[in-house]
Symmetry: C2
Subunit: 294 residues, 2 copies
DNA sequence: CCCCCGTTTTTTATACATAAGAAACATATG
DNA sequence: CATATGTTTCTTATGTATAAAAAACGGGGG
């Protein structure tokens, strides 16, 4: 049966919303909450009911009042807020990256389902979606093969990445001054500088910033296929570097500086500079990845 | 429960194999047949059993002999040899291309399952795989949206296609004389000329040749992401033009001539010529597609 | 030993069931 | 009559079941 992760996530989010109100304040309408929480009204009502039962909310005639400040410990644990399909992703990545799997390993749906403690349906669905990352391949009537997180995977990945990103970066040169992107680039630079200033403590935050930066660059001229490919890159970096922490701090610092150089080049509108900065960064990122695979 | 399409397909294939033997001849071993038919030995045995039951094969002590020439009418009909998941693909494409769906249409798993007469599981699996074509998008907990077979879809598709194909075509310039690809290019040219000579009767064969040609070009430097993108292109052309037959003959003839020009350019090894021929063909293909969408 | 075939065990493809969640409908209240 | 809440209906996420297909096992001959 379906898990109630949506409810639990909404419940947790609701705690945060309630904390912005004073005790005794009246809550917004169900519909307003629905929009804020990004779930259906059905779920909102379930959350409200749960909070009423705990005394956090008191339902009076035609209104709901905050009766008690919710405590953080009432939150549902993170794991329970993730749909099974999301948990499977993590489990699978871990299985893969941990090195339990080398190139050519056969992937057995039943076995994975057992190992992860989920239904086979979920595994199939996951594998079908995961196929797009280019790491597994289906064989008719006979399961899947893991193709390996190999050097050639990295090279093929970066060949495409280079095409896509150079294409987007070049488009910056022709971007009008009034484009809102320049503002976003500005705040992107600020975010990079901030992170750099506190690099020793926060170097782990880079991964997410990296993804955001590269996605920003590609948004200048949206293309669904390029955006979909960004998912591949994000996945690779997110999970791969989660299991390969070597030189993480240094690696990220270098990348930040390269990003800053690229930002400067973009702002110069000089296509030669843009090209150079972009290629420099991509080459360096590729070498780093290759290095960590070997 | 699982359908026996594998068996039926193998059965049909087996008829063809048997027809290459004389009456009374001894059949190859189960293992040999397994390789020829591309199925498991379990299925081979089922096929053999079925043929024995029909008197086509006579099992004697430690050997099997052909007792009767199988008739074509004993073949299972084509539909019964397609896995449900394959049939769903066709049904879905038809539903989409017929125009039952316009941009923004919400796709309802349950409804599709009912409409196509299959289990919801299959529909979900299909949609998950189909996602990569960029025509549908998933919304959390709320089904899918059809984004429409629109002009912007075609433009985005061709932007990528151009990057990929120009990249591969350019690589030809540096290809050594002894590369086996040149031979394949030669026979590709022959196939084009043949088709052109008989264009009035065979213009419908172009679609498949087109796909093979473009795939050949990309094989010079294999990249799993580019290959996967070829699937998108193949799908688009295959199904779209199945529902848009306008000017089909003329359209295909133009494309064949463009292919021949590109082949010549490739063989010249002159990067400028290659570039021009490649771009010319892609531009023309794009315009044709755009034209047929409008 | 190595290939062939009969048998048994596993795994995949597909159907079906059901609680959670979304959406639609209905009613009430200002 | 517009908006908020109560109720009903429909859809999705996930688990379970099972026949078909694949793979593994095992005994005989050459």
């Amino acid at each position: 049966m379906r898990t109630d992760t949506t409810f639990k996530r909404a419940f947790n989010d609701m705690i945060d919303i309630i904390r912005t109100f004073d005790l005794g304040a009246e809550l917004p309408s169900e519909n307003a909450l629905r929009t804020q929480l990004g779930v259906s009204r059905t779920t909102v009502r379930k959350v409200l009911a749960g909070m009423s039962a705990r005394g956090i909310i008191i339902s009076e005639a035609h209104k709901r009042i905050i009766g008690e400040r919710p405590r953080q410990q009432e939150r549902y644990p993170k794991e329970q807020t993730l749909a099974i399909s999301e948990q499977v992703e993590t489990s699978f990545m871990e299985w893969m990256m941990r090195g339990d799997a080398c190139a050519g390993t056969e992937i057995n749906e039943t076995e994975l389902a057992r190992k992860f403690g989920v239904a086979t349906t979920i595994i199939r669905e996951f594998l079908n979606r995961f196929q797009k990352y280019g790491l597994i391949e289906k064989r008719q009537n006979a399961g899947w093969v893991f193709k390996g997180f190999t050097a050639s995977f990295a090279l093929e990945l970066f060949e495409i990445r280079e095409m896509f990103e150079m294409r987007s970066a070049r488009l910056f040169a022709a971007l009008p001054d009034r484009s809102p992107v320049w503002k976003q680039i500005q705040s992107m630079r600020a975010a990079h500088l901030e992170l750099l200033a506190d690099i020793d403590a926060r170097f782990q935050d880079f991964s997410e910033l990296d993804s955001r930066f590269h996605r920003l660059i590609t948004t200048v001229a949206p293309n669904r296929f390029i955006e979909s490919f960004q998912d591949v890159i994000t996945m690779v970096f997110h999970y791969h570097y989660q299991w390969n922490k070597r030189d993480e701090r240094a690696r990220n610092e270098v990348a930040i500086r390269e990003h800053l150089a690229l930002i400067e080049a973009l702002e110069s509108r000089n296509i030669v500079l843009i090209d150079r900065a972009c290629r420099l960064h991509l080459t360096s990122a590729r070498e780093t990845l290759l290095h960590s695979i070997a």
